[in-house]
């Protein structure tokens, strides 16, 4: 019995370690005008060893997947694979397991001044992967967004944006409009109640 408990504990620890040592790769991909386009894109990444949770949002034009940290996948490799698949990656961000973020900056962004982009991390209420897709897709629709990443564990949105085109308040208003509370803007009750059951996070101050 003791051996079984030790085995289960060890298995759980190894799974947790395995889950923790994965990098999250997210890219904005232009050119996906049809579902079969996404099919070709997924197949292009099939050869990446250890790839998990490959997800494509056609309407948001984004792609996301997890890879083991030890592969040390680079943004340039992502761009190259997307190009080989017949599409164009315009933004790539890799959130490493150790907290570091690697980004791909397209040629157009190189000409932009680094000071023009402001980085902000703030809480956004949510629960699940669907919330993540909804939040990030909504923010990416806005002009001047360089990248947006919502961390499901910490429930914080990491966003880099052009202050000349958009403000954090406008970003929060957009996030709230799709049903997720932010520090300065709360979602309408009607919008919140229309969220899928698994997305209805606990709202502070409400019964």
């Amino acid at each position: 019995m003791r051996n079984i408990i030790v085995l289960v504990f060890a298995l759980g620890m190894s799974l947790q370690i395995s889950a923790q040592s994965r990098d999250t790769i997210r890219a904005k991909v232009d050119g996906m005008g049809c579902p079969f386009c996404a099919n070709g894109l997924e197949k292009a990444f099939r050869n990446v060893e250890g790839i998990r949770q490959f997800n494509i949002d056609l309407e948001g034009g984004t792609m996301q997947f997890l890879v083991p940290s030890e592969t040390n996948y680079t943004p340039e490799q992502v761009v190259k694979t997307v190009d080989k698949a017949g599409y164009t990656a315009t933004k790539v961000s890799i959130h490493r397991a150790n907290g570091k973020i690697d980004e791909y900056k397209p040629a157009a962004a190189v000409t932009a001044s680094a000071e023009k982009y402001k980085e902000s991390i703030f809480p956004v209420a949510g629960n699940c992967g669907m919330c993540k897709t909804r939040i990030e897709s909504a923010v990416n629709e806005l002009p001047g967004i360089f990248f947006a990443f919502w961390n499901q564990e910490t429930e914080k949105l990491h966003v880099r944006f052009d202050e000349e085109k958009i403000t954090q308040l406008q970003i929060e208003q957009k996030v709230a409009s799709v049903g997720h509370d932010t520090p300065n803007v709360k979602a309408d009750k009607e919008v919140y109640e229309k969220l899928h059951g698994c997305c209805q996070y606990d709202r502070k101050g409400e019964e």
Binding site: P35, N39, K43, G86
Partner: protein, 257 residues
């Protein structure tokens, strides 16, 4: 050139554009390719009646992207004929080799515009019957151009080409048009049902013969598979007898490797 030729050319140019919402059209080619080292296997059964004969065509098609913008393909039709010109069993018809090169790609979020050129060569490997696919008894060289815009809401694809026979038959200009209406919201993995309305036009400049065909089809697309059903009828057929065909029924499918 007579006025009616100009009118026909304009009509064909209009017919050269097709609106395609989702999924590959059933009877029209597309300039969008699915990436390097990807391929498609396709086959279908087509039945049409011509004169006193009934033709059953089953082509096997394989297309492969050697690069993200270069596609090579082969088409081997098998044909069986019943009726006056009866033939036993399915026999190979005229084999075709083809290539397509995408030279322009403009991508934006959720949309793309692409242009490609294509060429094909059909070899007289089938028993001469003067019926396309079965055996035309002559080499056929086709060159054409495609342009297409596709977004998540709609798509437009146009093809215009010229088919040259080495002998016997008159050369012709060909254009194709298709319009697709998706019945479901575009999602990934693929799960879509699309209605297709497709048109095909041909004009033989040397003889002034021309033909226009219309097809109604439906396509079921799931993950990497499609199942295609299409019914084509002639609207105008002022062409040599051996080019005519009555109603054509197509049932087929494709698999994306």
């Amino acid at each position: 050139m007579k006025n009616q030729h100009y009118i026909l050319l304009v009509i064909m140019s209009l017919f050269a554009f097709s609106a395609m919402a989702q999924g590959p059209p059933i009877r029209t080619d597309k300039p969008i390719m699915l990436g390097a080292n990807k391929g498609t296997i396709r086959t279908y059964y087509q039945y049409f009646k011509h004169a006193d004969n009934h033709y059953h065509i089953v082509p096997l098609m394989f297309e492969y992207n050697v690069k993200s913008n270069l596609e090579l393909g082969i088409e081997i039709p098998f044909a069986s004929v019943t009726g006056f010109d009866r033939r036993e069993g399915m026999k190979p018809g005229d084999i075709m080799l083809k290539a397509k090169y995408q030279f322009l790609r403009k991508d934006k979020m959720g949309q793309t515009f692409r242009m490609a050129v294509k060429a094909s060569e059909m070899f007289p490997t089938g028993r001469p019957s003067e019926v396309p696919h079965v055996g035309m008894g002559a080499f056929q060289t086709y060159v054409g151009a495609l342009a297409g815009f596709e977004s998540l809401k709609y798509g437009i694809v146009g093809e215009l080409g010229y088919n040259h026979f080495s002998e016997i038959h008159p050369n012709y200009l060909e254009s194709r048009m298709s319009f697709g209406i998706p019945l479901k919201k575009p999602v990934y993995p693929v799960n879509q049902v699309t209605l297709y309305f497709e048109y095909e036009a041909r004009w033989m400049p040397t003889t002034d013969d021309h033909a226009v065909y219309a097809a109604q089809g439906i396509q079921f697309a799931f993950r990497s598979y499609t199942i295609d059903l299409s019914l084509q009828v002639p609207l105008v057929e002022k062409v040599p007898v051996h080019f005519t065909r009555d109603i054509a029924v197509l049932i087929g499918g494709r698999f994306i490797l």
